[in-house]
Structure formats: structure tokens, C-alpha cells
């Protein structure tokens, strides 16, 4: 079936996630956007691991 999605529904997969997963997604997107603006290419694995570990305890 063809999918019909409204603009509002674009981010529905984020909004419908559990609070923990939503927190992970939002924080990861934030640092990625920040790095994109500053054009940083250094590894960020530790930062992301920290985000996940903080969200799920």
C-alpha cells in the first residue's frame, strides 16, 4: 500500500518512541548537528556511548 505521510508525521517515529529511546535520538541528533555546523570529524563514539548509557540505567 502506498504510504501517505503528512509533514507533521515525518518525525512520528521519534515522537512515538519510549522516553529513553527518544532521549537517545534527540541527543545524538543534537551533537551531530552541532558537529556538522562546526565541521568536526573527530571520533564521537564515546559521546554516543555516554548518551546511551545515561538514558538506559
Amino acid at each position: 500500500m502506498a504510504k501517505k505521510i503528512s509533514s507533521d508525521a515525518v518525525h512520528e517515529p521519534i515522537n512515538s518512541a519510549s522516553p529513553e529511546v527518544r532521549q537517545i535520538i534527540q541527543r545524538v541528533l543534537e551533537i551531530e548537528k552541532d558537529r556538522l555546523d562546526k565541521n568536526e570529524r573527530s571520533p564521537i563514539n564515546d559521546e554516543i556511548l555516554k548518551i546511551i548509557k545515561e538514558a538506559i540505567q
Binding site: V10, P13, I25, L29, L36, A55
Partner: protein, 692 residues
């Protein structure tokens, strides 16, 4: 990006230093630069592209000669001649200055040596002072974040060649550029980095997990590695396919140039186009068929169930349970009134009352009744659709078969022509066809491999997903292990959800962009063509014949309008999406358009429409126009929005040069005049506007 000013020094025909301030207010956002042919309009367009991207447009002759000839001629031997362009712009409330400079040296033997260009960037820092970019950052990177290099040709372009944007062989380029503008990079990076983090978490789990967990993890990793290798291969295949496709186009171009085979070439082109169309039709039919089967296929299995259903109803009817002739409410009312319709008193516990009460149960059937008859009506309706369903299936099947037959014939004809070329008496033609055959075989092989890999990857991912579930369900009681599994699971869920967001955005953006292009194109063109944007963001013009889209061979003018509509639509959509917070990436909601020689091949009506619409779409417009291009309708439409105006005065050393001038607001400005020395060069004069 809002352009503020352009400064030039010894760049191309511009001797010495010149500067232009650009119109930037919302109401008056047009800067017009008048100039005759050869006076430096294209050089000005290229001043922007060189300074910002070190790129030149196709219309610029000898791009390697950047430094003004007079400046070089006047310079001392081996002394540097400066040549630079500085573009000032504003972005996100911050001012920037970008300066690209290259030095040239006149050698003793009269030759000119030009050094590599250097790019510098300054911006107004938080303290309000101009500051150089820190050495850790490259100016190129900053610019490309604001207005990507790969997209520059959509904002700085030659109006006479604008149709190239939508040419078939540029389709994949335009698709890539569009995706970039929509800022998918943040999502891609997030998905990639979360995947790496998930792997690290799995490694940690392996360190603390029990034997079962370790074994599951090892299996999962193996599957994922296999999938990754295949993904890498897919990328290689894509590159190789692109390379082969370009090669094919080049070979076909050569084939076309060999006039002797021109007749065959025309046939080849027509047949190949037909082949493509027929393939599309077959795909379309298959899609329709799939949709019909998945939405309504089940109804063909209904008759057996329907018969059972009807016999059930009949049984009930025979038992007198249907139709229910008495309503529950009616019986309840009698009981409440304690009096039957025959007048008998209905006292609690009396025989009459018990008898009437028993009707309550039977009367409950009235709901069953209405439900039953509703279902029956639906069943009848569905049954009546069975014929329609089969008819549609037959029709699409017949269409597929018919088209397959046609395809076979076309392919036979194509093969015949290729055979003729293969056996041509001319060696170059034979050789060319041989190479084309090789390329075709390679494309075929790659496409098949790609499809097979796709299936393998999907399968591997499915298996890895199952192992992930098993991990989750493993019965370990160890707290640390449980937590680790939970984290892995959360990371995976975040990845999956981000992938969904990416898909959604793709879908929404493409649909809305297509609509916008259609709307804009419809406003300008009087042809009943419709622009279409494919799943892969490929742009084409179609005509709707019956229910089918048929590709049209549009004229240069139509393609120019399509290209302009595309640019305008991208600008408009990105602006809207940015406002809605849907663009994840650098803020890019303000776009300039710098356009040389606008609307070269358009008729009067089109010129007027385009002249009216472009300034509304772009936030800012810089137009370089000759007097013929700046004709009545263009001037009429643009005049109210002009904020700045300049004239390029070309100084010609020719003694018999034909002088020319332009009159603006009652004042005469020279376009061409006799040079006071032996050099030809261009000066920039600002027009004093008197319309506010």
C-alpha cells in the same frame, strides 16, 4: 546566504579595483548589471563562482587566464600582479568576507605564470570585529555548509544554458544535489555513529556475557559483517554503474557524430526511447496488479465462506429466529408499564409476566438481525466486485503480455540495427559498436549483481534481527548482562527509528517538491505537460495520455522553464521546510540567484512570466543582461523590484569601434567606448536610480 557586495581586482576584463553593492531588501531584491556582449557579464558571474567555489561556468572562455591583461602588461618582470575577488555575504545573522586571490608574474620571455589561488575568510566575531577564521577550519568547508558546492550551479548560472540542468544525462546529478540540500547528512551520520556505538556495546556484552550470549553475539556479528561487505560492494557497483553509464553516453554521442550512420542512429534513438517507455509501462502494470491483489485479492476466496454464511442465516430463518419480529425496547416498555398490549396485567412473578419476559431473550436477536443483514449486504457487494477484480487482473495481464510482445519486437529491431553497425564496412563504426556492446554487457552484469546482493542483504539483516531478539530473550539473570542487552536494544531501536524518519522525509519532500514544481511550471508554461520527480529525484516532463504518463521531447524553451521551475521550487520548499524545522542540517533558508543572460531562448510570454516569478522565488536576484535581453517585458516586470543597477563600460582599443550606450533614468551611460590607451578593459559604473 545573502550576498552583500562583490569586489574585484584585475580579474579578467576588470582592470584595477571595482566594487558592487548588491540589492538585498525584501521589496527591492534585484541588482541589474547591463553590459554588451564581451564586456564581462559572464566574468562577473564567474567572479562569484571562482571566489566561493573555485569553479567556472561552461560559457567562460579560457578560464585559465584570470588576471587582467593590461595589469600584466604594465607590471615589471617577475613582480607579482594581484588578482582577487572578494564576496561579502550574510548568513544566519553573521557577516562573512571571502577573498580568493591568485598572483600572476610576467616572465622575461613575455609568458605569464599564474600561481595557485588562495582562499581567505573573515567574519564578524562576537565582539563585533572582523576576525580571520581559526586555522583549524577551512573556509571551503564553511562555505559549503552554507551553500553546498555541489549545488552552486543552481544558484549561479548562465540563463542561456539553464536547460542543461534537466538534461537526461544530468538526472542523477540533480537527484544527488536535491538530497544534499534536504540535509540528509545529519541523519546519515547519526545512524552511522549509533551503529558503531551499538557494536561497542556488543563487544562489552561479549566480555561479560555467558556462553549462550557470546555464541549469539558471534553469530550476529558474522551476519552483520557479511551484510556490510555486501553493502560496500553495492557502493562499488553504483560507482561502476555510473561510470559505465557515462561511458555509454559518450560512446553514443560519438556514434551520433558519425554522419554515415545517422539514419540508423535516429532509429536507434527512437527504438531505445520506445524500449524505455514500454519497460516503464510494464512496471506500471505490475504495480497496479500488485496493488489490486494485495488490496482486493482476498475477495476471490469469499464465495465458499459466503455460502456458509447464507446457509447459517437460512437455518436461523427456518427456526424463526430471523427476522426478529419484536424489539427488545418494546418488550421492556410493556414490562415497565406492567401491562400487555392485550390488557393483561403483568405483575412480577405472574405467568403472563414470565411469558412476556421470555420474549426479551428472543427480541435480543434484533441486534443480531441488523448485524447479520449488514454483513449480508457487504458480502453481496464484495461478491459483485469479484468480476471487477478479475477483469482488472485480466486487463493488466493482457497489457503486460501485449507490452512484452512489443518489447520483444523492439529489442529484435534494436538487435538488427546493432548487427548492421557491428558489420559496418567502416572499422570505426564496428569498433564503436563493439565497445558499446561491452558497456551494455557490463551494465547488465552489474545490475543483476546489485539485485541479487540486495536480496542477500535483506536476508542477512532479517537473520541478524532474529538473533538480536534471541539475545533479548536469553534467560540470563546477571544484572550487568541484562543492562547491556537493554542498551544494545535501545541503540538498535534508535537506529531503526531514524531510518524510518529518513524514509518519511524522503517521501514527503519528494511529493511536495514535485507538487511545487508542477505548480510553478504550470504558472509559466502554456503546454499541458506535467513535471514528474521520480523516486530517485529524477526530473522529467510528461504528457498524460489516457491514464498513462508519456515522456515528452520538450523544446529547449520548455526545458529552460522546467529548470527554472525546479530551482525556484527547491528554494521555496527548502525555505518552507526550514521554517517547519524539517531540515536537519545547516540553516539554509535564504538563497541568492545570480543569473547571466536571462531567458535567452524564451518567447515574450515566457520571458514576462519568468521575469515576474524569479525575483519572487529567490530571496535575492543578480541579473546580468545585454540590451536585447533587457527587453520591454523583462524590464517592466523587474523594474519595481530593482534595488541597485550598474553598467559595464567596455573600453575598446579598436579605432573603428562602434560606440554604444544605454539610457537609464534620463542619463546616458556608455556601454562601449574608445579606449584611451591600447588596452581593452571594462569599468563598472553605478546607475543613479531615481525611482526611490
Amino acid at each position: 546566504m545573502k550576498l552583500l557586495a562583490l569586489k574585484l581586482c584585475n580579474f579578467r576584463p576588470f582592470y584595477g579595483e571595482h566594487s558592487l553593492t548588491l540589492a538585498k531588501s525584501d521589496e527591492r531584491n534585484i541588482t541589474v548589471i547591463h553590459g554588451n556582449n564581451g564586456s564581462g557579464k559572464t566574468a562577473l558571474l564567474n567572479a562569484f563562482t571562482w571566489a566561493l567555489y573555485e569553479k567556472f561556468t561552461a560559457a567562460l572562455a579560457s578560464p585559465e587566464q584570470l588576471v587582467n591583461r593590461r595589469a600584466i602588461a604594465e607590471a615589471k618582470v617577475d613582480k607579482p600582479v594581484p588578482c582577487w575577488v572578494e564576496v561579502s555575504f550574510e548568513h544566519d545573522g553573521k557577516q562573512y568576507r571571502v577573498k580568493r586571490e591568485c598572483r600572476a608574474y610576467r616572465k622575461k620571455d613575455g609568458s605569464v605564470e599564474q600561481a595557485k589561488s588562495e582562499l581567505m575568510m573573515q567574519f564578524v566575531g562576537d565582539d563585533g570585529r572582523w576576525t580571520f577564521l581559526p586555522s583549524s577550519q577551512m573556509p571551503e568547508d564553511v562555505i559549503t555548509r552554507i551553500l553546498p558546492k555541489s549545488l552552486h550551479q543552481y544558484f549561479f548560472f548562465d540563463g542561456e544554458r539553464i536547460e542543461n540542468i534537466t538534461r537526461t544525462d544530468n538526472r542523477s546529478e540533480i537527484a544527488e544535489a536535491t538530497k544534499k540540500l534536504l540535509g540528509v547528512e545529519v541523519l546519515d551520520r547519526a545512524i552511522k555513529h549509533l551503529t558503531t556505538a551499538r557494536k561497542t556495546l556488543e563487544e562489552e556484552l561479549e566480555g561479560i556475557g555467558d556462553a549462550e550470549t557470546q555464541s549469539l553475539l558471534a553469530q550476529k556479528r558474522k551476519l552483520e559483517q557479511e551484510a556490510e561487505q555486501l553493502q560496500d560492494r553495492q557502493l562499488e557497483i553504483d560507482q561502476e554503474l555510473e561510470h559505465q553509464t557515462t561511458r555509454r553516453q559518450q560512446l553514443r554521442q560519438k556514434q551520433l557524430e558519425l554522419t554515415e550512420v545517422e539514419g540508423l542512429q535516429m532509429q536507434l534513438n527512437t527504438l531505445e526511447e520506445q524500449e524505455r517507455e514500454i519497460r516503464e509501462k510494464i512496471q506500471q502494470s505490475k504495480k497496479t496488479l500488485k496493488r489490486a491483489i494485495s488490496n482486493r485479492g482476498y475477495i476471490v476466496f469469499l464465495p465458499k465462506v459466503a455460502t456458509e454464511f447464507r446457509s447459517l442465516i437460512r437455518e436461523r430463518e427456518e427456526r424463526g429466529e430471523l427476522p426478529a419480529d419484536i424489539k427488545q425496547k418494546f418488550v421492556q416498555d410493556l414490562l415497565d408499564r406492567q401491562k400487555c398490549i392485550c390488557g393483561t396485567e403483568l405483575h412480577e412473578g405472574s405467568t403472563a409476566c414470565t411469558s412476556v419476559k421470555s420474549w426479551l431473550e428472543r427480541s435480543g436477536l434484533s441486534e443480531v438481525e441488523s448485524a447479520t443483514y449488514r454483513i449480508e449486504a457487504r458480502v453481496n457487494e464484495l461478491e459483485s466486485q469479484i468480476d471487477d477484480f478479475w477483469q482488472e487482473v485480466d486487463r493488466e495481464q493482457a497489457s503486460i503480455n501485449h507490452n512484452k510482445g512489443t518489447l520483444e519486437r523492439i529489442q529484435d529491431d534494436l538487435e538488427d540495427i546493432r548487427d548492421q553497425l557491428r558489420h559496418s564496412p567502416r572499422e570505426d563504426i564496428r569498433e564503436l559498436q563493439k565497445r558499446l556492446d561491452e558497456v551494455d554487457a557490463a551494465i547488465d552484469r552489474l545490475t543483476t549483481e546489485k539485485g541479487a546482493n540486495q536480496e542477500k542483504i535483506a536476508n542477512l539483516e532479517l537473520q541478524a534481527g532474529r538473533l538480536g531478539k534471541q539475545l533479548k530473550e536469553s534467560r540470563s539473570n546477571e544484572k550487568r548482562q541484562k543492562l547491556a542487552v537493554k542498551r544494545i536494544e535501545a541503540a538498535q531501536e534508535a537506529i531503526d527509528r531514524l531510518k524510518l524518519v529518513k524514509e518519511n522525509r524522503d517521501e514527503v519532500f519528494r511529493k511536495q517538491l514535485e507538487q511545487q514544481i508542477e505548480e510553478l511550471y504550470g504558472q509559466i508554461s502554456f503546454k499541458a505537460y506535467l513535471p514528474r520527480l521520480s523516486d530517485r529525484y529524477e526530473l522529467s516532463l510528461v504528457e498524460v495520455a489516457g491514464k498513462q504518463d508519456v515522456l515528452v521531447g520538450a523544446s529547449t524553451g520548455e526545458n529552460q522553464i522546467l529548470s527554472l521551475s525546479f530551482i525556484g521550487s527547491v528554494i521555496e520548499r527548502v525555505r518552507q521546510w526550514s521554517k517547519a524545522g524539517l531540515v536537519m542540517g545547516p540553516d539554509s533558508s535564504t538563497f541568492p540567484v545570480v543569473m547571466d543572460s536571462p531567458f535567452g531562448n524564451l518567447d515574450e510570454i515566457y520571458r514576462r512570466q519568468v521575469a515576474r516569478l524569479v525575483p519572487l522565488l529567490a530571496n535575492q536576484l543578480v541579473v546580468m543582461a545585454s540590451q536585447t535581453q533587457w527587453r520591454g517585458e523583462v524590464e517592466q516586470e523587474m523594474q519595481p523590484r530593482i534595488g541597485r543597477e550598474y553598467v559595464l563600460t567596455f573600453n575598446s582599443p579598436k579605432s573603428d569601434c562602434e560606440e554604444a550606450s544605454i539610457k537609464r533614468y534620463g542619463q546616458v551611460y556608455p556601454l562601449v567606448r574608445q579606449s584611451p590607451n591600447e588596452f581593452e578593459y571594462t569599468e563598472i559604473l553605478e546607475v543613479e536610480r531615481q525611482d526611490g
